[in-house]
Every structure is written in C-alpha cells, then in structure tokens.
C-alpha cells in the first residue's frame, strides 16, 4: 500500500472516530444533566407531585398538578398556533415562492428566532394581556406559539427542499397537480425531518420561563378555561429554585425531571402515532 493511501486511511479512521467522540460528548452532557436531576429531585417525584396542588413552604405533600396541566394546555395552544404557520409558510417558500419573497421571509424568521424570549413575552403582553386587562393561558400559549414559528418554518423548508427532484418530476409526469404533489409525495417523503423539527420546536418552548412571566403569570390553584392565569412547570421551577427552602429546591429539580420526562413521552408518542414506516431516507 503506498504511503499516501496509508495516510488517507489513517486520516479517515481518525476523523471518523473523532465524530464518535463528538457524539459521545453531546450525549453524555444530556445523561449528566438527567443524572443530576434524578439525584436531586428523584425522591420528590411521587404520586403527590402529580396530583396535588402546591403546598405552602414547610408543609409536605404538595405537588405540581396544576403546573403540569397548565404546561400541557399552554403547549397545546402553542403548537396550534406555531406549527401551522411554520409548516404552511415553509411549503410556500419551498414550492411556490420566488427567490426574493423567500429571502425576505427567511430573513424575518431568523430575526424572530433571535429575539430574546423575554422580549417575546413583552410583545405578547402588549398584544394579548394589556387590551384585555388580565393575564391568561391564551396569552401564554400565544407567546410560546410565536417562538415555535421560526424554528418550524426554517427547518421544514430545508427538509422540503431536500426531497430529490426525481420524486417531484415523477409525480408531475403522472399528471398530478402541484398541491397534490406536495400533499401526497413531497411532504410524506420529508415528513421525518419535519416531525423532528416540530418536536424540537416543541421541546424548546416547553422549557421557556421568561415569556410566561408576563402572559400566563402563574397560579397557585387550578386554572379553568383559557382566560385565567395558569401555573406552568418552568415558572414553578424558577420560583422554587430561587427560594431559600431546601424542600422547594428539591421540588424544583423534580419538576425539571418531570418536564423532561413529559417531553420524552410526547416525542415517543408522536413518532409512534405518526410513523407510517415510509423509508425514504438512507436509501
């Protein structure tokens, strides 16, 4: 084997193992965080946690039932607002628009993405709280939905574009109209990436505190309907973590663990239900 080839093979083996190291670093960061949360908060994740309302400091047996339900409602609304805008907007960019419009829309999405979460909160406050003179679950969901839009839009567009030309041309050759091609060929073949994006956006907003402080505010009690302030896991974590009480600290870690657990469950369920076993990638 000539020396140059040996060198190239060595480089190849080295670089590829380095990528393995990168992956290991990334994954171990997550396991470390998980481990820390389990260690500090694991003991507090009990039946009470899921079913009881918060108890005042010093009393045991309190839980975060209202925060869990509150987060679920907020995220549901956020997804309802953020995903369609991002998804259909991305379809426009990938399939219909000219380069100039696409440029403007992408730029706008990137700018929106860079806005600090607290500024989004202030923005949502002036649009959804001030005119109605009260904090509400709706305002919170609106703020979170706004944050989901740019991630969903940009990445969905990338995945739509990554569908090979051959598939599009095949559909056209069969006489399908544009929207039919999109609905039955392009979106399904890019769906894995799109789902990943939506789940990523979902995960992102699930952990946001700042936008909720000025919109959903928080609630020690149950929040019926959509027009009352509501508790949420990230805000509960924030409030408990900065308090001087050990018991509340443990509950904060427990809440962090539960939040991660819920995201994991949503991930699994979403992939499970929506999986249609289409193997297009890695072909």
């Amino acid at each position: 084997m000539n020396p140059r080839l040996r060198w190239r093979k060595f480089v190849s083996a080295f670089m590829l193992s380095m990528t393995g190291v990168c992956a290991a670093v990334a994954v171990s960061a997550l396991f470390f965080i998980l481990g820390y949360l389990v260690f500090h908060g694991g003991a507090s994740v009990n039946w009470n946690f899921f079913t009881k309302l918060p108890a005042p400091v010093g009393e045991t047996g309190g839980g975060m039932a209202n925060a869990i339900v509150g987060s679920a409602k907020l995220l549901f609304l956020a997804t309802l607002i953020g995903v369609p805008v991002g998804f259909f907007g991305a379809i426009y960019l990938a399939e219909f628009s000219g380069t100039a419009t696409a440029f403007v829309v992408r730029y706008a999405a990137d700018l929106l993405n860079g806005v600090p979460s607290i500024v989004i909160g202030i923005f949502a406050y002036s649009l959804a709280v001030l005119p109605f003179k009260h904090f509400s679950t709706f305002a919170g969901g609106f703020a979170l939905g706004l944050m989901m839009i740019p991630i969903t839009l940009r990445s969905t567009e990338e995945f739509l574009r990554s569908v090979p030309v051959s598939l599009r041309e095949g559909a056209m050759a069969l006489g399908a109209s544009k929207w039919k091609t999109i609905a039955t060929v392009i979106v399904p073949s890019a769906y894995r990436g799109i789902l990943t994006t939506i789940l990523l956006a979902f995960a992102r907003v699930a952990g946001e505190t700042a936008p909720l402080l000025f919109t959903a505010l928080g609630n020690r009690f149950w929040s019926p309907g959509w027009r009352q302030p509501t508790a949420s896991l990230p805000v509960a974590i924030y409030n408990y973590a900065i308090s001087p009480y050990e018991d509340w600290h443990r509950q904060a870690w427990a809440a962090g663990l539960v939040l991660l657990g819920l995201i994991l469950v949503v991930n699994i369920v979403a992939r499970g239900i929506l999986s249609r076993g289409i193997a297009v990638s890695r072909s």
Partner: protein
C-alpha cells in the same frame, strides 16, 4: 442541490390567461394563496414586533439617539444608559458558543448519520433532542452549581497557566464570565445543530456517497468532501438556528455571566449581554426612561441580529461560487 421550484403548466382547455374565479377553482392557486398568507404572517409578526420595539423606546431614542450604541455607562439612578458593553457581551458569548458547538455538533451529526446504525442513531438522537427541552432555568442552575466551580477551580487556572500570556486569559478567575456563559450556551444550542444536520445528512441520496467511494475516496473523504457539501445549506440553516438561540438566550446566561456591564478582552472577565440585562432588570424597572431604555436594547439586539444574519448570508453566497449545489439565502 438543484433548485426545486417548478411550476405545473396549466394543461387543458383553460391554458393561457384565466379569470380569477377559474384560477381559484384550481387547487394549486388556493394552495398558493393559503400558504402565502401563512408565510406573509411571519413577516407581519416580525414587522409588528419591530414596530412595538420602536414605539416602546421613543424616550431614549430621542434622548440618546445613536450615542446609545457608543456609550458604556448604565446607571438607572442617574438616568445614563449606554448599550456598548451589552453588545460586546452578546457578540463574545455567541462567538464562544458557536466556536464550541459547531465543530462538536457537525461532528456528532456526521457520526449519527453516516456511521451509527439507524437504531442506535435514532436512540441517541432522542436523547440529544432532550437537551433542547431542558428549561433554560435549569441550565442556569446547573451552570451555577457545576460549571462555574469547575471553571473557577480547574479550567480557568489551567488556561491561565498555559495560555496566560494571551490577553484572552488575563485577570482573576471568578468562574462567572464570558467563557462560562459561552460554554453553557454551547450546550444549549448543540441539539439544534445535531438534530437538523443529522436529518439533512440522512436525506442525501445514497448515489452521492457511492459515487465518491467508487472514485476511490476513503470513507471520511467521501463524507467530508461529497456528502457534507451536498447538505451544506441545511447544515448552515441549523447553524443559523443555533446562532439565533445563542443571541437571544436570557435566563441561563444571566445566571453565569457575572452581570457586570464592562468590556474586557479577557474571556475570564465577568460581563453582561443584552438578553441577560433585559431579563434581569425589566421586571423591576420603574420609570419611563429606564424601562424604555431596556426596550431600546431589545431593538439594538434586533439590529445586531439583522446585521449578523446579513453578513452570514453574504458569506454563504460568496463561498458558494465554487461549491456544489445552488444556494438559497
């Protein structure tokens, strides 16, 4: 990658100019209009946001004007406000975060897409995606409890020992500061790079890889010189996402950056960033000039993001002249 915008020519008896009504009956036109409305709403929201920021910062804009961008004093008691230290902090922490996260992220994505068996890859991806779900408050707390002491006791003294001659590593090691904030940010943004890049790499057609291998390249060469460039725009898109996250991150940064509005060439120095100071001070800010100056900072960050995005896009366009595939900025 070839461009993908194709229009289906109108076939049939209504080819050529058509009335609005008949065009609307065509599913394509409706689809176009509906999706356009959604895309337009994104621009509308952004414009509305800028408008609100503009309105909400009227007082300091009239009082300070563009000097706001040049002055470094932030004094809520005597009503002196300047944005420079925060702009500096935002740029430095984001730069550090990207320098760490991009190589790590792309490396990991390559591993997950090219080397790992699909099952393993999917499982690992699950976990990496969870990093995006960790609340920023928890990142901040972990930063305080773990990363700051680690930095102060171990990493920073080592950096000073070996690289202390550089102005980058001068000054006392507090643990809090630009470097620590950058590291925490890096962990927070890495899932975006890995997740999206991995999917994009997975979607690169197999024949591309095989073509490279057929020509005698090693596995690495085929990956790095053929597959990755093919997926370039997607990967860069993921970096845009990550950058945006880094620029706007509030809670985690504010807990580990030291909250001192100063400009220092040392990465070990405490500092502050725009998002961090807004989060810190907005809730309690009283007085119109103070509150509005914080909103003015938000506007400045917007401008910063605008410029950074523009520069990055310019760079893509310039470097793609010789690259493979067309580029859409």
């Amino acid at each position: 990658m070839a461009t993908t915008s194709t229009t289906v020519p109108s076939a049939g008896p209504f080819a050529g100019s058509r009335s609005l009504l008949s065009r609307l009956r065509d599913g394509d036109e409706i689809a176009r209009v509906i999706t356009f409305l959604f895309a337009a709403s994104v621009v509308l929201i952004t414009v509305l946001l800028v408008f609100e920021l503009w309105q909400g910062s009227a007082l300091p804009r009239h009082r300070f004007g563009l000097d706001f961008l040049r002055t470094s004093v932030w004094d809520p008691v005597f009503d002196q406000f300047g944005a420079l230290p925060f702009i500096y902090g935002t740029l430095v922490t984001s730069a550090v975060a990207l320098l760490i996260a991009v190589p790590l992220g792309i490396g990991a994505a390559i591993f997950l897409a090219e080397l790992a068996p699909l099952r393993l890859s999917d499982t690992l991806e699950f976990f990496i995606d969870l990093l995006a779900a960790v609340p920023s408050v928890i990142y901040g707390l972990l930063g305080i409890f773990i990363i700051v002491p680690l930095m102060r006791e171990f990493v920073q003294p080592q950096l000073k020992h070996f690289l202390g001659f550089l102005p980058l590593f001068k000054g006392p090691a507090f643990g809090l500061g630009f470097l620590t904030a950058g590291v925490v940010l890096a962990i927070m943004i890495i899932p975006y790079i890995i997740s999206v890049s991995r999917e994009i790499l997975l979607s690169v057609p197999r024949d591309q890889r095989e073509a490279g291998l057929a020509l005698g390249s090693t596995r690495w060469e085929s990956t790095w010189k053929v597959v990755v460039p093919f997926a370039r725009t997607g990967i860069i898109g993921s970096i845009f996402l990550a950058l945006a996250r880094a620029l706007g991150e509030t809670m985690a940064v504010t807990m580990v950056i030291g909250n001192t509005p100063i400009i220092s060439s040392s990465l070990l120095s405490p500092g502050d960033s725009i998002a961090s100071v807004i989060a810190s001070q907005f809730k309690e800010a009283t007085g119109e000039l103070y509150t509005q100056s914080l909103i003015y900072l938000g506007l400045v960050l917007f401008l910063l993001t605008f410029i950074l995005n523009g520069l990055a896009r310019l760079m893509i366009v310039v470097t793609s002249q010789r690259g493979s595939g067309t580029v859409h900025a």
